[in-house]
């Protein structure tokens, strides 16, 4: 265990110094907007950076991570640690006066949830807002991916970490050239962010708004720099954001193929097609119901329908109009889409499309088997046979996901959250959607939550982002038994 601790602190050191560096990037904004936060950001940035460097130096003998078991622990601890240090800018600038709130906001950022406790975003210093969006951006691709891109210089066997981070049915194991792939993904990430920023600039946003919303879109986070989220932006911006978040919820490997011009591979991918079907169907449903039950015109129905479906299924949580006043059937749809989430290997949260696909195929086969009493034929995805282990694993995940959601609702209600908010809050935090129903939906925020309810939300956000099992296994007896 001792050598493991060394390794942990070594990695932690690296990540903290990176986090410190990112804090420093907020300074130009502070300077430009002539805010008094310059020196404060300098302090936290340098403090975090030096602490990280010190840890790296002291535990430079970090050995390889041999036991896969500990990678679960590492991922969770690292995520918690960066979130703790991420609160520094909020606390030092007095944006939040207590730790719970600051921690909530940071976790929400790093988990790309986008649930916020800021009631008046526009009044906050721009540099703090930038830090807020930046946490999403960092969290988006995953600090772990960052580590994988930089790890070549460290010589730590990072594969075990990687598999803990992506405990989903990751069929495209990048093993042989994993580090190179990670680097490519990383460049891709920056490239797409740049494209989004330019597109938003063209839609008439200022540079500051454009870059912050680009961060929100690529990370499918949901923090905005406006009190009314994106409602006051131009119509073209709404369309750009809709497509941007949908694009961000596509598997990054596929995006890579897409950008390389290998369209065939993209459109032949089963998960992509399934995702497309769900999105198109939900948009059609929403638009029709909106047209029938509200006083929107066709264009408006389409725009809001598209935007809300995109924002929900990608678990972004940017808001163009107050959807909580729509017909409850649509509210339910928003909730379900959020829980469903985007494709595996994207920044979107939720249950993930590929899992839904595996489950529905499995149920389909089972039905046939029960009714015809015939041996089950194997399930295939992208022409590859899925092993029984994977299906069983996905079923277990589904059960855990569902139970966590239900327990979340119950706990929130116990801590005095009204039922509609509890339902929405649990779904929003678990999936990373960020905005829920009722007071915490639409343009609302989580200020009405009591302190324990905020902690429930924090746990939901963290465990949802880390694919549940990674977190919960730490609380099992099996894990700690020798």
């Amino acid at each position: 265990m001792k050598s493991h601790l060394g390794t942990l602190l070594n990695i932690l050191g690296l990540i903290l110094s990176i986090e410190g560096f990112f804090m420093l990037t907020c300074i130009p904004f502070a300077l430009y907007y002539q805010e008094s936060t310059t020196i404060q950001f300098l302090y936290c940035g340098i403090f975090t950076f030096i602490l990280g460097a010190l840890l790296r130096f002291l535990f430079r003998k970090g050995t390889e991570l041999k036991n896969k078991k500990y990678s679960f622990l590492f991922v969770v601890l690292i995520w918690v640690a960066i979130s703790i240090f991420g609160t520094l800018p909020y606390l030092i600038t007095n944006t939040f006066t207590n730790f719970t709130d600051a921690f909530f906001e940071t976790v929400s950022g790093f988990a790309t949830t986008g649930a916020t406790l800021m009631s008046d975003v526009e009044a906050a210093p721009k540099s703090v807002l930038f830090w807020r969006s930046l946490t999403q951006w960092i969290g988006g691709m995953g600090i772990i991916m960052l580590v994988i891109a930089i790890v070549p210089y460290l010589g730590i066997n990072s594969f075990s970490l990687y598999s803990a981070e992506m405990s989903g049915p990751a069929k495209d194991k990048l093993h042989p050239k994993m580090l190179k792939t990670a680097q490519i993904l990383w460049y891709l990430y920056i490239l797409i962010t740049a494209i989004y920023t330019i597109a938003l600039l063209l839609c008439g946003l200022g540079f500051f708004d454009a870059i912050n919303h680009a961060f929100s879109c690529i990370a499918t986070g949901g923090f905005s720099t406006k009190n009314s989220s994106v409602a006051d932006f131009s119509i073209s911006a709404h369309y750009v954001i809709s497509f941007a978040v949908l694009f961000s919820s596509i598997n990054f490997t596929l995006i890579y193929f897409f950008l390389k011009g290998n369209f065939k591979k993209v459109f032949k991918n089963e998960e992509f097609r399934f995702f497309g079907k769900i999105v198109l169907f939900s948009i059609a449903f929403t638009v029709i119901i909106l047209k029938l039950t509200s006083d929107y015109g066709w264009e408006e129905s389409f725009r809001h329908g598209l935007f809300q479906v995109a924002s929900s299924i990608s678990t972004t949580g940017l808001v163009a109009t107050d959807y909580t006043s729509w017909n409850p059937a649509l509210t339910l749809l928003v909730l379900l889409l959020m829980l469903c989430g985007g494709m595996a290997g994207s920044t979107a949260g939720g249950f993930k499309i590929v899992r839904i696909m595996i489950l529905s195929k499995n149920v389909n086969q089972t039905l046939k088997e029960i009714i015809h009493s015939r041996a089950i034929s194997q399930i295939k995805i992208n022409n590859r046979i899925l092993s029984e282990d994977i299906t069983q694993n996905v079923i277990a995940f589904a059960l855990v996901f569902f139970s966590t959601f239900v327990i979340g609702v119950v706990l929130l209600i116990i801590f005095n959250v009204p039922p509609i908010e509890a339902l929405g809050g649990s779904a929003a935090c678990l999936s990373g959607g960020g905005v829920g129903l009722g007071e915490i939906g639409g343009f609302g925020n989580y200020l009405s939550f009591s302190i324990p309810a905020k902690w429930v939300a924090i746990v939901l956000m963290l465990s949802g982002r880390l694919e549940l099992m990674t977190v919960f296994i730490l609380f099992s007896r099996v894990f700690w038994k020798k």
């Binding site: 059937a329 029960i370 009714i371 079923i395 277990a396 059960l399 239900v406 209600i413 039922p419 099992m469």
Partner: protein
């Protein structure tokens, strides 16, 4: 093998349905007599309905001819079960229409189906104003449906042999492996005997403590069937506390499998308790939830201790057994109570009992499965193995159980969606949908406490009908009937 449409043994289906209609008609004579001796003029219409049932049943039997082949395939088993559950309520609806209580077919069918599926959701606003005979018929339909129409036909058609097994599997798909007697017909008739004895004893008990005969009869029939129709407007609040306690005990018993009760009656305690994990969990769940409820009722609402305990147990058992009796003042007393009821709605009783819901065995199995999966995350080489009720669970079992839960939740969500579109609020819709698919009955979340589905638009009522059947036949039969892809061989 080329794809061809399934050959269905139509004469056999016709014969089975004929027999069921016929016996429903015979049962309907009971309300006719009750109505007659209560000097109600509607007795004649009840008699007419009974006549129609008997005649149509007889005709269907004759239509089938004498040379019926008693062979049945697995698929047909599912389809027959589906058809039985859809058609029987049609004749069951006759009395409501002919007596002019529910003149339109949708309402009458809803009420009748709610009876046969032992749901207990009602579209009659003022129950006390309708003829006594009809009240008895409502409860009687629950009693008939409670144990299963299919089991009924199995006794009556002894020639089915293996086919009977398929019917049995189709109605109790999932994991029912317990059998009292190797021969189907005999074992099912024993189940009916236990069922009848339970009902009779409850009826006598209720009479002895001073309830009116008709009320006692209705309560006895509805309780043992875990149905939940009440012969009075105030549901259970109308009755004395002693009555409530007795009913609670019987609801508790009725949600256990009849096989288990049979074993207990015949003194096979070892077999009953040692091998049955369900019982432990059942009691555990009831104690946990009623303790929480007790705390809420006692602390938040300042009820006296005795009353709180009684009410907590009553609510918990009424919901978990999917009976759906309610106490006006307690069931609608607040959110926390609602939340607990809502969760309980999904749990349900034993497999092989008259209760609905997901059923305890499935929940136990899935929980153990999750635990096994976690163990495998730490020890990837370990082999996944665990037992429920002493039987090893294989991935196939998990697939079936999970498939059931998945579809159950899907139908629940679909129902909620339709209710939302029909203008109900989200929480109300969820509550109603859960209550109906779990065959519980009343819409607890509803702010109005009269719990009537009468105001719902037509399309919502039909959706609720679908959910009742889906919940009762445990999803698979319904799907087998309506997804053509499963008809093909």
């Amino acid at each position: 093998m080329s794809k061809h449409r399934l050959q269905i043994n139509i004469p056999l289906i016709s014969r089975i349905i004929g027999i069921i209609f016929f016996s429903v008609g015979i049962f309907m004579l009971i309300p006719v007599f009750i109505s007659f001796f209560n000097y109600e003029e509607e007795w004649i219409w009840l008699a007419v309905s009974s006549g129609i049932c008997i005649v149509s049943g007889f005709l269907l039997r004759t239509f089938a001819g004498e040379k019926v082949k008693y062979t049945l395939h697995r698929r047909e088993g599912f389809i027959i079960v589906g058809i039985i559950w859809i058609l029987t309520p049609v004749v069951g609806a006759l009395p409501f229409m002919l007596c002019n209580v529910l003149p339109n077919f949708t309402d009458a069918y809803f009420e009748s189906l709610s009876g046969f599926t032992s749901t207990g959701a009602t579209v009659i606003n003022n129950v006390e104003a309708i003829p006594k005979g009809l009240l008895v018929w409502r409860s009687l339909s629950q009693w008939i449906g409670g144990l299963g129409l299919t089991l009924f036909s199995i006794i009556l058609i002894r020639k089915l042999r293996e086919g009977a097994n398929y019917l049995y599997v189709a109605e109790f798909s999932g994991m029912l492996k317990e059998k009292i007697h190797p021969r189907m017909a005999k074992s099912t008739s024993r189940l009916w005997l236990v069922y009848a004895l339970l009902t009779l004893s409850l009826f006598i008990l209720l009479l002895v403590i001073g309830n009116e005969p008709v009320n006692s009869l209705c309560l006895a029939l509805s309780t043992v069937a875990t149905g939940g129709f009440s012969p009075v407007n105030d549901n259970m609040s109308h009755f004395s506390e002693t009555t409530q306690i007795i009913v609670t005990v019987y609801m508790f018993l009725s949600a256990m499998s009849l096989v288990l009760i049979y074993q207990i009656f015949t003194g096979k305690f070892k077999k009953a308790f040692r091998k049955n994990e369900q019982l432990k969990w059942y009691i555990g769940i009831i104690l946990t939830f009623s303790t929480i409820l007790f705390a809420i009722l006692f602390i938040n609402y300042h009820n006296p201790i005795g009353v709180s305990i009684k009410n907590a147990l009553f609510i918990t058992i009424s919901t978990i057994s999917t009976t759906g009796y309610y106490l006006n003042d307690v069931h609608f007393s607040g959110l926390s109570v609602f939340l607990i009821i809502f969760i309980l709605m999904f749990i349900g009783g034993f497999s092989g009992s008259t209760s609905g819901g997901i059923k305890i065995v499935r929940i136990i199995t899935l929980l153990k499965f999750i635990r096994a999966q976690f163990r495998r995350m730490v020890h990837p080489q370990a082999i996944l193995q665990f037992k429920v009720n002493g039987e090893g669970i294989r991935p196939r079992n998990i697939n079936i159980i999970f498939g059931f839960c998945f579809l159950y939740i899907l139908f629940f969500l679909g129902g909620t969606m339709v209710l939302c579109l029909c203008g109900q609020g989200l929480i109300d819709s969820m509550s109603m949908s859960a209550s109906i698919i779990g065959n519980i009955g009343p819409a607890i979340g509803n702010i109005c406490s009269d719990c009537s589905y009468i105001e719902l638009p037509l399309i919502a009522k039909w959706t609720m009908c679908v959910l009742m059947i889906v919940g009762r036949v445990e999803v698979f039969s319904f799907i087998a009937l309506f997804l053509p892809k499963f008809w093909r061989s």
